[in-house]
């Protein structure tokens, strides 16, 4: 059996009286690249927030790197790029370097200072996303796609085992989306970083991810990408509650 970086057991969650997640059991195997899809309001972001301890489930348990969430301390092993990353204060006076360095804050720890070795780590993370020449630029002045790369670098700088991304391609133009997924593939294959990614762009995702998880309050599908693309429109409309079709990009 392969090792899981995240295990969810019987997770239930409601916002006030609205049931959002019901009886979720999910394992994310080490080294996998999973795309999480599902309709809006289907609980995708909620699920990620529960994984990260930002929301507490009504019942059920979360294990990160084989450790119960409540006692989990190795947060630097998990990188997170939120949906709101791109909605940061654009006037915030910070350089690209300073933003990526924030990814090391917790890892360095309290009462310790940023040293030269940390500087090298920041530059290395920036080179992984191809942004090292922008280190001294103001973050607010970059394009959406460049900013997203900087946030990936911030997540990578702590050398994570798992990278969780919530709709990372929103606001990035179509051409750069492909480039972005190639970067994810590279991280997954060369660095063996496990990737868990929420997306609406199922077409681009299915070309790159190894597995797909489909969520609409409960888990409707969890399997290999090839099986997911075989699903009929009828299967999908059951999941989404309305007719859908996957747009597969061929080029």
């Amino acid at each position: 059996m392969t090792e899981s970086v995240v295990s969810l057991r019987n997770i239930n969650f409601s916002y006030e009286n609205k049931e959002v997640l019901k009886d979720i059991n999910l394992d994310i195997p080490k080294g996998s690249f999973i795309g999480l899809v599902g309709p809006n309001g289907g609980g995708k972001t909620t699920l990620i927030k529960i994984m990260l301890g930002l929301l507490t489930p009504e019942s059920g348990s979360v294990y990160l790197l084989n450790e119960k969430l409540s006692s989990f301390k190795r947060w630097n092993r998990i990188g997170y790029v939120s949906q709101k990353s791109n909605a940061f204060n654009k006037g915030f006076p910070a350089t690209v370097f300073e933003v990526v360095a924030m990814g090391l804050t917790a890892k360095i720890g309290y009462l310790r200072f940023f040293r030269r070795e940390h500087k090298e780590k920041v530059m290395h993370a920036l080179s992984q996303v191809g942004m090292e020449s922008y280190a001294k630029q103001n973050i607010g002045q970059l394009s959406g796609g460049q900013q997203q790369r900087v946030f990936i670098a911030r997540a990578l700088v702590g050398n994570p085992e798992l990278l969780i991304l919530d709709e990372p391609t929103v606001g990035i133009d179509y051409k750069n989306v492909e480039q972005f997924y190639s970067l994810l593939n590279k991280l997954n294959e060369e660095k063996n970083i496990t990737l868990f990614l929420i997306t609406h762009d199922t077409g681009a995702m299915t070309k790159h991810a190894t597995d797909v998880v489909c969520l609409n309050k409960t888990l409707h599908f969890h399997g290999k990408t090839a099986e997911y693309t075989q699903l009929t429109d009828e299967d999908l409309s059951k999941i989404y509650g309305h007719p859908v079709n996957i747009v597969v990009h061929d080029h």
């Binding site: 630097n76 915030f92 006076p93 360095i108």
Partner: protein
């Protein structure tokens, strides 16, 4: 022109205290401004006023002159900051609601203490608008000690404070104790306000925390630059403000703020001629 400030003890203390608050107020102000919490300083300064009115009332009612009202001001300010945090936790969707509640509460209490003391003399006026002659040797030493403590704490927790200010959710997920760091930050703000009121006065203390930062925002590319320029503009405002206030017999709070605004306007115009504004 500056010789009086070297010659007379009370002016020297004022001047040196001014140099200290010219560093600590803009330093903490950078975090306030980027987190869009500028008004927090206003709320806490009004609570500090209540604390000072309380101190003056105790002094007058019980003839107890050994404790400077600055201490009661500081105590009220810290308590007020705790209340604002509690209110923020209760009204999670209305984060700013705590500010008007604490602000009006501070003014309300001040009025009560002033009435109980049956009015004060010029002392209260000095606390409202600052004074060049109000800083005693003990006040100066206390503010010196506090400034060293504040600068040291900001230095030690610099990376946590910046990370938290940029993205609170990310800071939490990356394993930083966001709530504790934020609480530490609020306490520091309360202390800076209490330290600054002797010179700039309660009604204008928030200006010294925000105006130099607003000016520095116009040309800072990095956070370190923001801190550097904020302190430069803060110091310039305080030095020119104290000297001109003394020679023109105007409370320095007024002159410091007007000079800060002039610096702000110059930096806006200066930046416009150089490049399009992005802030």
């Amino acid at each position: 022109m500056i010789e009086n400030f070297i010659q007379f003890d009370f002016l020297r203390h004022t001047f040196l205290t001014g140099l200290l608050i010219g560093v600590i107020a803009p330093l903490l102000g950078t975090f306030l401004v980027v987190r869009r919490l500028s008004l927090l300083a206003d709320a806490l300064s009004h609570v500090t006023l209540a604390g000072i009115a309380f101190g003056l009332f105790i002094e007058k009612a019980f003839v107890f002159p050994y404790l400077s009202p600055i201490y009661s001001g500081m105590a009220f300010s810290v308590i007020g900051s705790v209340f604002i945090e509690r209110l923020r936790a209760i009204y999670t969707s209305y984060q700013e609601l705590g500010i008007p509640i604490i602000l009006s509460g501070g003014v309300g209490l001040s009025v009560i203490f002033i009435a109980l003391a049956k009015g004060f003399n010029t002392d209260l006026f000095n606390y409202l608008f600052g004074s060049v002659s109000a800083v005693s040797r003990n006040d100066f030493l206390m503010i010196l000690f506090m400034s060293i403590a504040i600068i040291t704490i900001v230095f030690i927790f610099y990376k946590e404070l910046v990370t938290l200010s940029f993205d609170e959710e990310y800071a939490t997920v990356s394993g930083i104790h966001s709530k504790r760091i934020h609480f530490l930050f609020i306490i520091l703000i309360a202390l800076v306000i209490a330290a600054s009121i002797r010179i700039v006065g309660i009604l204008l203390v928030s200006a010294l925390m925000t105006l130099p930062v607003a000016a520095a925002m116009r040309h800072a590319k990095s956070y370190k630059q923001l801190i550097f320029y904020s302190i430069v503009w803060g110091e310039l405002s305080v030095i020119l403000g104290i000297i001109s206030g003394y020679y023109l017999s105007i409370p320095p709070g007024g002159t410091i703020v007007v000079i800060s605004i002039i610096i702000l306007l110059i930096s806006i115009v200066w930046n416009k001629t150089k490049q399009p504004a992005t802030v």
